[in-house]
């Protein structure tokens, strides 16, 4: 179970790291190389984004990666196969991240069956609020998969509790309003929000959106269980190639 895995790890590490890559960017071979170096550098879990043509929750870096991957011909089939291979090769949990249309067109039941069979642990679907996801929730539960839901600073307490009641594995708390990849001020202003998140659920909390360096990760120690690094690793790969990822991850804690 994902939650048990995270709790076991948290006995050894104060804070866990989750990284995000866009599959097929710049190509699938490079994607696998990046996964390998991230795992080697001690990443605790990973989200694998299946590219979509209309990624409304993503900022410029991940948006660009989505477009480039699609332009290079990344198909949903190839992404599912990649996930299966990664899960078989590396001893950490993998999640798929994508927009709902990808699951909807593939068939939610078929998609979940593929995930289960391929050894993936769950999915993050940022444009599927629980209200719209009754089929998805039932299917994920039926396959023993974790639907990862999202808290935001704009979410009132009552709704945090509702979302928590649908979530499994952990909850992804976006650190601020806006899209991925822009700067976040990790300051005491976040404390109140993170405390609200903590009160709303017993599940581990992941915090993402704008986590770029060790200082940000240090800030989250003791306040969150998982730091999520998304756009920044993509920037590193763009600037210095897949080989630079390992050192970057190692520098984070």
């Amino acid at each position: 179970m994902l939650e048990d895995y995270l709790r076991n790890r948290l006995r050894e590490k104060e804070i866990l790291l989750m990284t995000h890559i866009v599959l097929g960017y710049p190509d699938f071979e490079a994607s696998m190389e990046i996964v390998a170096s991230m795992v080697l550098a001690g990443v605790d879990l990973m989200e694998l984004q299946i590219p979509f043509s209309e990624p409304i929750a993503d900022g410029p870096v991940i948006l660009h990666a989505n477009q480039q991957a699609l332009a290079a011909g990344a198909s949903v089939r190839a992404c599912l196969d990649f996930g299966r291979e990664a899960a078989a090769r590396f001893p950490i949990p993998f999640l798929f991240m994508s927009y709902y249309n990808i699951l909807y067109r593939f068939g939610v039941e078929r998609f979940a069956a593929e995930m289960k069979d391929g050894g993936l642990q769950g999915a993050i679907v940022p444009d599927l609020p629980p209200e719209e996801g009754a089929d998805y929730l039932q299917t994920m539960q039926g396959h023993g998969l974790n639907p990862i839901f999202i808290f935001s600073p704009a979410t009132p307490d009552e709704r945090l509790a509702y979302i928590a009641s649908c979530a499994r594995g952990f909850v992804y708390c976006v650190a601020r309003k806006g899209v991925t990849g822009r700067e976040t001020e990790f300051s005491s202003q976040l404390n109140g929000y993170l405390a609200r998140c903590r009160r709303a659920t017993n599940l581990p909390l992941a915090v993402g959106f704008g986590v770029t360096d060790r200082r940000d990760v240090d800030f989250l120690r003791g306040k969150a269980d998982i730091a999520v690094i998304g756009s920044q690793t993509i920037r590193i790969v763009e600037e210095s190639g897949p080989g630079a990822v390992g050192d970057f991850i190692a520098s984070l804690r």
Binding site: P55, I56, I102, P126, D127, F149, T155, R159, V174
Partner: protein
């Protein structure tokens, strides 16, 4: 937020969590306004004093004689301020923004009509205004960019995706999830997450409410059929919805582009190329590939060149209440030319799609019957696009010589 905003199986509210609270706030403000008769009265008053409402219903006597069938009436949305039905929606949302106490508006625009309309509203209401526009559209529609900027709006070219309307919508949504505390997103059509389809259709229903009263006053009866072009679907929703319970046929006309068989079109409901999907916050028929990636679309009319369609219309299509047809670029230019020559009216290329289908059907109806065509916008404002569509050689020479003058200056 429990399963609201569905029309049959279409619509919904598929948005990132951070937007949920904002959409709930918008929905509450809209519901309060809608249940307040004073709000609609204020809206009608503003549209009367700012945008020539009620727009006339013009009897097209010459076209009627030309086709020798049904009497043809034309609802003149082209006479709105800024030249299209877009004014209805933006002024309505402007009044709502005042109620919500927000100070900034953002909007997407394709051809630029909705952007210009939003910029006028922002100027009049004293809001700061940012318009997102695909970089390709910025290149193609400089005159509208010129007006938006002169009206005080900031126009942001969007260099992501296919650099057209859908990409501008995505970028506007990204701005909104960052700045929703003081910013309202003036979505331009009856699409997107709930409550936008319902709200935009409600403001636009002023078209059909007027037309219903006018046609009965003029002819003593309801029309046999009503024709409207369908891009996102707001002018069609606007004229159709007040007639929904009447025994008349409603016909939506989509962009057939270079022909359905070429794949270069924007026909989502009138041809089998589209399929159900979820994007840009709502569920409807999209032109997409098997994986669910959105496809490129084409139309001579930029305002119809969109991958999705109003969930309200998708539902009315599925229920068989609205019939959907398509018109090719070539047919559209012919219909525009005929309308100009016989009636002296200049419909926009978008609106001319509705004229194409009406012209195909009018001869088969009886002179005792009447039909209404919604002229959603005026074409003379889009002289660059229309002159291109007509491939007018003298116009081209004029542009070339003007360019030379600028180059030498």
């Amino acid at each position: 937020m429990k399963h609201r905003g569905y029309y049959g199986q279409f619509g919904g509210c598929y948005v990132p969590e951070v937007l949920t609270a904002t959409l709930e706030q918008l929905e509450a403000a809209f519901n309060t306004a809608r249940s307040d008769p004073a709000f609609w009265a204020e809206y009608v008053r503003v549209m009367g004093e700012y945008s020539c409402r009620p727009t006339p219903l013009t009897y097209a006597e010459n076209l009627t004689r030309h086709f020798g069938g049904a009497r043809i009436y034309i609802k003149r949305e082209d006479l709105n301020h800024t030249g299209a039905h877009k004014a209805n929606n933006v002024m309505g949302q402007g009044l709502l923004v005042k109620r919500m106490g927000k100070k900034r508006v953002i909007a997407e625009t394709g051809a630029g009509q909705h952007g210009v309309a939003t910029a006028t509203m922002a100027a009049r209401c004293g809001f700061s205004c940012t318009i997102y526009m695909g970089a390709l559209d910025v290149l193609r529609q400089r005159p509208n960019v010129f007006w938006m900027e002169r009206l005080g709006a900031r126009v942001v070219p969007v260099n992501e995706g296919s650099r057209i309307l859908k990409d501008a919508i995505n970028e506007a949504l990204r701005d909104w999830v960052t700045n929703m505390d003081d910013t309202h997103y003036v979505l331009g059509t009856a699409c997107g997450p709930h409550p936008f389809p319902e709200m935009v259709a409600w403001f636009q229903s002023i078209i059909g409410r007027e037309a219903r009263e006018q046609i009965q006053r003029i002819t003593g009866a309801l029309p046999k059929r009503i024709y409207a072009c369908v891009g996102g679907g707001s002018n069609a929703c606007g004229i159709f919805l007040p007639f929904l319970d009447d025994d008349i046929e409603l016909v939506g006309v989509e962009a057939g582009g270079r022909g359905i068989e070429t794949g270069q079109h924007a026909a989502r409901l009138s041809a089998p190329g589209a399929s159900e999907g979820v994007a840009q916050g709502y569920k409807t028929f999209f032109l997409q590939d098997d994986d669910g990636q959105m496809r490129e679309t084409h139309s001579v009319a930029a305002g119809l060149d969109y991958v999705g369609v109003s969930p309200i219309l998708a539902d009315l299509h599925q229920k068989g209440r609205v019939r959907f047809e398509s018109a090719t670029d070539t047919e559209v230019v012919q219909a525009l030319e005929l309308t100009m020559r016989t009636e002296g009216l200049i419909p926009a290329l978008e609106s001319s799609h509705a004229f194409v289908q009406a012209f195909k059907e009018a001869p088969h109806l009886s002179p005792d019957e009447s039909i209404i065509i919604n002229q959603s916008g005026r074409g003379d404002k889009d002289i660059f696009t229309v002159a291109d569509a007509f491939e007018d050689p003298a116009w081209r020479d004029f542009i070339v010589s003007t360019a030379r003058r600028y180059t030498n200056a």
